[in-house]
């Protein structure tokens, strides 16, 4: 048990699942679900290993950095893998009912590829290997968006592909500069050898710009709402919940490990962009008339919060940011699934015509409401803990003004969530004939929304995981 390389299995199993689904399309649902369960078990195994033995480093091929590629798992990567596993399982269950058999055979190999890319990305300790995983992730995500067909989805996918490739190339140029400055692409070795120079600044700029584009931080968010809103529902959920978080994770790793010298002015700039993203995303979310677009703009807004930790740059702030990421992943997946159920049920997602959804789809509305509670940051949800940590960090570091945006953003979120819920209770002028929503779709949404709330009730546990390997350093004063 102790010697099993769980981390490697977490990456290779979805690849094997992909190959199996590709070879036997007619069996893709059982093959895919089996793979999903196996991946969840392996993530649990890795979690046990990391909790018992501390952060893990694994030298692929036995060479070790700088010659070979290392995998590295600490509390940060473990939590990312775990949230991916939970959301991934939910999406897998949801998609069994969502896709018709023909589409399903196309969906599964792509989705398992994407899962493999995510797991490989969270475990990689090598900035060039991260480039390859980013490309794998981007291409899989684009193909999944295009799965919806139709003009909106295809143009959304095309724009997304161009943006994703541009981001990767900018990142890769930064990698080239770092390699030629320090002779390694391993994060730990770069961290040791790092010293300020114009080259390093250029690398920071190029890599950060590429990753911010992929993370869709304001003003580089333009591609996100059309792509996320026009994709098939399970895909919208996994894009908003996981894919944008992956590039944020890479950015976080780089900032924490190899760019600590950049924290001052650039951190303030990122915080400021985050503030604008919160306000702008919230404002546009309020103005949307379609549910999936509203949720997509809400993602733009919530991504803004993540960047509030950069100007504060204390351990509590990073923990708050990560906590927000985790609870947003769960809540946003649930929210998109709920929207998908409403779309499936009524054939449209016009907010003004949500005809008594409350009576007809009580589970779905409950899921939407619970996810909304977490997005607003109300207790006892995970969103509350996250905002509390960020609030504490901003007061402690004397930069209390960042706290205002947390409260303002919460109010805006409340406004657009309540708008949707309000329409769901009223009878529309034109009543609709509606089809039944399969039970797995409703329960998957509710389960993820509940998980977002539970994340707040059991806060000490994830907070303890975040300490493993000290990814965020030690808090200076307590």
């Amino acid at each position: 048990m102790q010697d099993i390389p769980w981390g490697v299995l977490v990456i290779l199993l979805p690849v094997i699942g992909t190959l199996a689904c590709f070879l036997c399309p007619w069996r893709s649902v059982p093959l895919g679900l089996t793979t999903a369960l196996a991946v969840v078990v392996c993530v649990a195994g890795l979690g046990w290993q990391v909790v018992e033995q501390g952060a893990q480093r694994y030298a692929i091929g036995g060479w070790g950095a700088p010659l070979g590629i290392d995998l590295y798992a600490d509390g940060l990567s473990l939590l990312m893998l775990m949230v991916t596993a939970v959301v991934g399982l939910g999406i897998s269950v949801y998609s069994t009912s969502y896709f018709k058999p023909g589409r399903s055979a196309i969906f599964w190999p792509l989705w398992l590829f994407l899962w493999a890319a995510l797991n490989a990305l969270f475990l990689s300790a090598d900035i060039f290997n991260l480039y390859v995983t980013l490309e794998l992730l981007g291409l899989a995500a684009v193909a999944l968006v295009a799965l919806a067909g139709g003009a909106d989805a295809l143009t959304g996918a095309m724009r997304y592909l161009l943006v994703s490739l541009l981001g990767s190339l900018s990142y890769l140029l930064g990698v080239a500069l770092l390699y030629h400055s320090f002779g390694s692409v391993d994060i730990a070795i770069l961290a040791q050898r790092m010293e300020a120079s114009p080259t390093v600044w250029a690398a920071i700029g190029l890599m950060s710009a590429g990753l911010l584009l992929k993370t869709a931080l304001f003003p580089l968010h333009f591609w996100l709402p059309p792509a996320h809103a026009s994709a098939p529902t399970p895909v919208s959920a996994l894009l908003s919940a996981l894919v944008v978080k992956a590039s944020f994770y890479v950015l976080l790793r780089l900032w924490l490990e190899i760019f600590p010298l950049a924290n001052s002015a650039l951190g303030q700039l990122l915080g400021l962009l985050g503030v604008v993203a919160v306000l702008w995303g919230g404002l546009l979310a309020l103005r949307q008339t379609r549910l999936k677009m509203l949720i997509a703009y809400s993602t733009v807004m919530q991504l803004g919060y993540l960047f509030l930790a950069f100007p504060l740059a204390t351990a509590i702030a990073w923990q708050g940011s990560l906590y927000l990421l985790l609870s947003h992943a769960l809540a946003k997946a649930a929210m998109f699934m709920a929207a998908g159920n409403i779309l499936y049920f009524g054939g449209h997602d016009r907010i003004a015509d949500l005809d008594r959804v409350a009576q007809r789809l009580p589970l779905t509305l409950a899921a939407f409401g619970l996810a909304g509670v977490s997005s607003m940051g109300l207790p006892p949800s995970g969103g509350f803990i996250a905002k509390w940590l960020l609030l504490e960090a901003s007061v402690r570091s004397g930069q209390w003004w960042w706290a205002i945006i947390l409260i303002l953003g919460g109010l805006m979120t409340a406004a657009y969530i309540l708008k949707v819920v309000g329409y769901a209770f009223t009878q529309a002028q034109v009543t609709h004939e509606a089809g039944a929503v399969p039970a797995p779709m409703e329960w998957a949404a509710l389960a993820l929304a509940l998980a977002a709330v539970l994340l707040g009730l059991f806060a000490p546990w994830p907070l303890a995981l975040m300490e493993i390997g000290l990814p965020f350093g030690v808090e200076a004063e307590r």
């Binding site: 139709g150 295809l154 190339l169 140029l173």
Partner: protein, 102 residues
């Protein structure tokens, strides 16, 4: 020795040239070409600077990275071209809606 830096500078030039074309040209085929030119620029920087070993043999690690990059580039190009053809069928033009090919 310094021809290394000449090629690296050409790489930087190709990167920015591609970026310019990517932004200003509305036709998707040209955007795809632009991405490929940008990629070649990055590869040139990677390989050119690898020749600074001082010996006869350059550093092979960036060479391997570039071969990986070339394969990634053709994969992305193939997907982008297929997507472009689908966009044209659905939208009626090989361009994004906000940038009309007038």
């Amino acid at each position: 020795m310094s021809h290394v830096f000449l090629y690296a500078l050409v790489g930087v030039g190709l990167f920015t040239l591609g970026l310019y074309a990517l932004i200003v040209h509305p036709h998707l085929l040209r955007k795809i070409l632009a991405i490929n030119v940008m990629g070649s620029g990055v590869f040139l920087v990677l390989v050119a600077l690898a020749a600074r070993t001082g010996g006869a043999v350059p550093d092979p690690v960036p060479h391997a990275m570039v071969i990986t990059g070339i394969v990634v580039a053709i994969s992305a190009t193939a997907l982008a071209l297929a997507l472009m053809l689908r966009v044209q069928v659905e939208v009626g033009q090989a361009g994004l809606p906000e940038e009309r090919l007038e």
